[in-house]
Amino acid sequence: MKSIKLIIGFLAKSKSAAVILVFSYTLVLLIANITFASVRYITYTRDVFVEYNSPNTFYCALDYDPGEIMESDKADPIDEKLTYIENNAGKYSAYQPFLKEQNFVAVYDGTQISCEIYDKEMVQRYPLALSEGSWEELKIESDDSVFTAVSSGAQFDGVKLGSVVSVGVNKGGKALSDIKVKIVGKLAAPYSVPHFSVSGSIVTADYMFGNLDGLIFLKSDELINKINAQSSYAITTSGNFITTILPDATEKEQEEYITFLKNNFSVKSYDEIKLKSDEKVDREVRQRIPIPVFLLTIVSFALLSMSVLFVNKNIRDHAVYYMCGCSRKRSCAIVSGGVMFLGAVGGIINILFVSFYSKLSAQGILNLNNVLFDSVSILYTGLILLITVGTSVALGLIVFRKNTPIEIYRRVE
C-alpha cells in the first residue's frame, strides 16, 4: 500500500503531464491497433482467397431489378432466378456447380445472430480453420430435428462442443419459433466466412468475406423447409456466387461457358480479383500504416521524455527516503513502477479492448466491421509496450542511478 502511495506521489509531481501522456498513449495505441487489424484483415482475406481458389474460379454477380424482387410473390426470387440460370448452365460441358451463399437472421440468447447456409461444395472449397471440432461433423440430415452447425464469434464461447442450443427464427411479427442446433465446431478468429454480398466494377477478396457472429449450417431441404415454415421470407440468397470451369473441358467449351456466364452475370475472374486484391493490400499498407507509426513515434518519445522528467522531479525526495532508511532497490522499484504505470494504463486498456472486441461485436455494442483481432494483435501491443515502456524505464533508472543519494542531496542543498 505504501509503495502504491509512493508511486502515486511520484506521478503527482506533474499531474497534467501524466494525464495528457496516458490519454494520448492510449488513444494512439488504439488507433494503431485498429489500423493494423483492418490491414491484417484485408491481407488475410486475400490469402484465404488465393489459398482456397484455383485460377479457373469466377465471381459472378446477378443484375436484378430490386423493384421486381420486392414485388415477387416467391419466397426467395433470387435463388429461383439463379437456379433457373444454373439449370441452363448445366447444359455446357465446362459447367461446375454454383457456390451460393444463403443467410437468415435468428435470435440466440436474446441477441440477434446471422446464420449462413452453405452447400457441401462450399464447405469443401473453404475449409476455414476451426478452433474446436471438425467440418466433417456437419451433417445434411438432422438427428430427430436437431440440426448440426459450426458456430462463429464470441456469442458461443461458453457453449461446449456437442451441446444442443435453441435459436429462434422470426415467425412473422415478433413471435419466435425455436430450432434445435447441435454445435459440432467452432470457427477460429477472425470469424470470417464467405459472404458474397458485394458486387461492383472492382471486386477484391475482402468484399467476398465478412465477419460472422452466428452459425453455419449445411444446406438441406429439411432445414430450408423448417425455416420457410416459420417465415417465408426468412432466407435471403445473395445474387453473387463463386463458380469454376471444368479444367478437363476443351478450350472451346470453356470459352463458350465463359461467354454464357458473361451474358448472364457481371463476371470477375480469379486473376482480376487477385490483381485488384494485391493492389488493395499494397495501397492499404501504404496509405494506412505510416500515420499511426508517426503518432506512435511521437508518443514513444513523449513517454521517454516524461520518464526522465518524473525521475528528475522526484530524485530529491528519494535522496531523503534513502537517508531515512529506504533501500536504493526499493526506490528504483518505485521509479520503475511510476514510469511503467504511464505506459501500462494505455497498454492494458488496449489489450482488454483487443481481447473483448469479439464479445462486444457479438453483442452488437461495438462493430468496427472488417478487422482481425487475435493473439497476434495482443502480441503486437505487448511488443510495442515492451519496447517503449522498457526503454523509458531503463532511461529513467540510468538517470536515477547516475548519482548517489548523498551526491544528489548535497547538490540540491
Binding site: 458473361k262 505510416p290 500515420i291 518519445f301
Partner: protein, 368 residues
Amino acid sequence: MKLLKLIFSRIYYNFYSNKLVFVLFALGCFVCAVSFTYLYGNTMPSKIMPAKDSNINYFSFNFNNGESLSELISKDVFTSELVNDVRFYHNLTDAELPPELNNEAAPSFKLGTGMFSKDHMFQEMGRVEFTEEENNNAENVIILPQDYNMLTKQVGESINVCGQTFKIIGFHSGWNQMLIPQNTMLKINSAINSVELYTNKGLSRAKSEDFISEFKSDFFDATVSSSPIEMYDAADSQNPQIMFLLSVVYMISVASFMFLMKYMMDKSRRENIIYSIVGAKKKKVILILLAESSVVITVFSIFAVLVHFLFYDSFFSHINTESGITYNINDYLLITVFMIVLSLLTSIPFVVSYMKNSLVENKIKYSE
C-alpha cells in the same frame, strides 16, 4: 542584441545544466516537426490530389451547336498521345429514344462512340468492347448502360434507337450512355453534342488550363462541363479544415514536450527572480522565456524541415501514402511558419503558469 545574447546564453546554460532534458526536448520538437511536415503532404487535399491520377484526368465538354463526328475525329486534340479514352455523344431526343424508355422519368440518355479504355469501362453483362469486324462493317450493335430502365432487355435482344435497330451485345456499369461502334455512328450521322475524354495521366492545374485552352481554340463554341480544375478547387476548399485538424494534433504532440521546457524554466528560476529583483517587468521576463523556447523550437523545426527536404527522395517519398506527392519551397515555408506559431501558442500556457506566482512566491518556491 542584448536580448539575443541573453537568450542564447540561457539556452547554453539549459543545455549545459540539463543535457538529457534539453536533448529530449530538442528530439521531441524534431520528431513533432518531421511528423507535421509528413502529415501536411499526406493529408492536405491539395497535395494528395495531383498524386491521384484517376481524379484529375477527366474532361467533359459540351458543344452548343452540334458537331459532325467525321470532322471531330480528325482533330489533333483527340489523337494526341495524352488522350487514352475519348467518347463522343449525341443527346437523344424523345423521338430517338427506345420505345421502352418512353414515359419513364429517364435521365438524359446519350448515344456514344469512341475509343474506350478498359480502365474506364466495366462489364456488367455480356461484352463491353466491339470487335474490329463490328466496327469496320458499321454493324448495328450496342452496349447499354446498366440502368434500371434497361433491365427488361437481355444480351442478344434488340433495341430501337434513333430509328435504327441494334443488337444488344452487353451492359456496362455506366448509367446513361448507349455505346455503338464509331463507323456505325458515322453511318447514322447524328450531331455530336458533347465529348468526354480521359488523359493517360493526371494533369496539374496549369496543364489542365492549357488543355482546355487548346481544346477551345479548336472548338470556339465548346463549354467545359467538367475538368480537373473543379477537383483542384474542391481540394483547395477543404485545405483549411484539414490544416486546423493537423494544427490540433501538432499542438497536442508539442504540449507533451513542453513539460520538459517548463522543467528547464523551473531550474532557471533563480535567474528569473534576479531579473525581477533588478527591475525587469513581469512582461519582459515572460517575453524572455517565450523567446527562449521559440528560438529552440524554431531551430529544430527548421532542422526537421531541412532533414525532410534533404532526405525526401531517398526516404520520405517512399513512405508517402501516395506516390507523386511533391513539396515545393512555399510548402516548406508555410510548414515552418505554422510550426513556429503553433509552438509559440502551445508554450504560452506553460510560461504563464510559471509566471502566475508573484516575485515573493517565486523566491519562496526557489528557497524550498
